[in-house]
């Protein structure tokens, strides 16, 4: 809070000073390419628990499409379990935020293809076990890793019931500026937090609806008018490992 008020104060002084200098006519002849109009923009607000981001995945629609995985790997610059040249990590050491698990019902022979990603639990075991608080859940329900604090102990990987977390086994360069990731820390799906904060959909959901089988709906679970809430109200849905009582943010239809 103190930091914010200091900033505001300096801006005020700054504008005053600017006015004085402008009057002296120092400006002529110089070509400015970016105005500082946004300096007056208000402080951004912290996310709150008024929202809870979640997703409904219809397993019956999903089929053998992998658009979500491709989109996720592209968004975060992952190889998704495939070795590429120059990379040293084995396939089992590669990061996967989202994966498809093919299932066969033992009694009925029914086949299912399930995209599994971080389930964004309401009470995430990864957050409970993390010794430093690097494993965290934002107020709006997004579970993720604050890599600044991660010491790479991998206890969260032991605790996660969905195997949603990966450890970065090798050096990484040319990261996406909106998605830093680096050797020696743990990472996982963060529901494309950089997109969500801009009001966009996670990459997997966007791809699923654009190129895929439209099996994914994303939105605010606390807003009863959101598409995802309406769907959840209409159809029955299930959580993975509901027996653990984690109240996941990702729900499934058709399992």
């Amino acid at each position: 809070m103190t930091e914010t008020s200091k900033t505001d104060n300096s801006r005020r002084k700054f504008i005053t000073a600017g006015a004085a200098f402008a009057g002296l006519g120092l400006a002529p002849g110089v070509h400015l390419i970016q105005t500082a109009q946004a300096d007056t923009s208000p402080s951004p607000k912290a996310v709150t628990s008024d929202k809870r981001w979640g997703m409904l995945i219809d397993a019956n629609k999903c089929g053998d499409c992998t658009a979500c995985i491709t989109a996720c790997n592209k968004e975060f610059g992952l190889e998704g379990g495939q070795s590429s040249e120059g990379n040293k990590a084995r396939d089992t050491q590669k990061t996967q935020y989202i994966r498809k698990v093919e299932l066969l019902n033992k009694q009925t022979g029914h086949k299912l293809s399930l995209p599994i990603l971080c389930q964004h639990c309401e009470s995430p075991p990864c957050v409970d076990v993390c010794p430093t608080g690097a494993s965290m859940k934002r107020a709006d329900g997004i579970a993720k890793v604050d890599m600044h604090l991660c010491i790479g102990c991998r206890y969260c990987m032991m605790a996660c019931p969905y195997k949603a977390r990966s450890f970065v086994h090798e050096k990484i360069v040319d990261q996406k500026p909106y998605a830093p990731r680096g050797m020696g820390t743990v990472e996982s799906c963060n529901l494309c937090v950089h997109r969500v904060d801009e009001g966009r959909q996670p990459a997997c959901v966007e791809a699923c609806n654009k190129e895929g089988n439209k099996a994914m709906v994303f939105g605010d679970l606390k807003d009863e008018n959101s598409a995802v809430s309406k769907q959840l109200k209409k159809h029955s849905s299930a959580q993975l490992r509901a027996d653990l009582g984690l109240n996941t943010g990702i729900r499934y239809r058709g399992i």
């Binding site: 000073a17 400015l32 390419i33 500082a36 109009q37 007056t40 912290a46 107020a139 600044h148 830093p180």
Partner: protein, 171 residues
């Protein structure tokens, strides 16, 4: 959006950027940012040639406090989800913005992005000298991935569209 406060702030920005060298102790300012302009003009660090003509704070302040600003913003963004609008010029201390302007050097007429491995990377100028290890770039990209706009006189206009600068963010 062109109204009077905008003009005022614009002028203020400009005034500050023009005044800085005069207010600062002579020599100190030139030491690192312009250190190599005399001997090695190939690698002059761009700081005034791009974007809004000035940094988010004046040089003296940034030199002393950049780590505090970065740390503050890091906590707010990562943990609280506070995101400044991309064009909130004086208040957005994102590392991405630092890198986007500063981590470029002139090579001949072209302006090329460099990574932290390059000794002329902006951060290296001081950090190598004072031997303070930077922990940022194990995870963050040290190389600009966004576009920059060059200001009038200094901009080698023909090179603007050169391959070095066309590595626009893929979105």
């Amino acid at each position: 959006m062109k109204n009077s406060p905008v003009l005022l702030v614009t002028a203020a920005l400009l005034a500050l950027s023009l005044n800085l060298p005069a207010n600062d102790k002579p020599g100190r300012h030139t030491r690192d940012t312009h250190r190599q302009s005399g001997t090695d003009s190939e690698h002059k660090v761009i700081d005034k040639d791009v974007q809004g003509k000035s940094c988010v704070r004046d040089t003296k302040d940034m030199r002393r406090n950049h780590m505090k600003y970065l740390l503050h913003q890091r906590k707010e963004t990562t943990r609280l989800g506070k995101r400044w609008p991309k064009n909130a010029h004086k208040n957005n201390f994102s590392l991405e913005r630092c890198i986007n302007c500063h981590a470029r050097v002139k090579k001949g007429n072209a302006i090329v992005p460099v990574s932290i491995k390059d000794k002329n990377h902006f951060c290296n100028h001081c950090h190598r000298k004072v031997a303070v290890k930077i922990d940022c770039f194990q995870c963050h990209n040290s190389k600009p991935t966004g576009k920059i706009k060059l200001s009038g006189s200094q901009a080698p206009a023909k090179n603007l569209k050169s391959s070095a600068l066309s590595d626009a963010r893929e979105k």
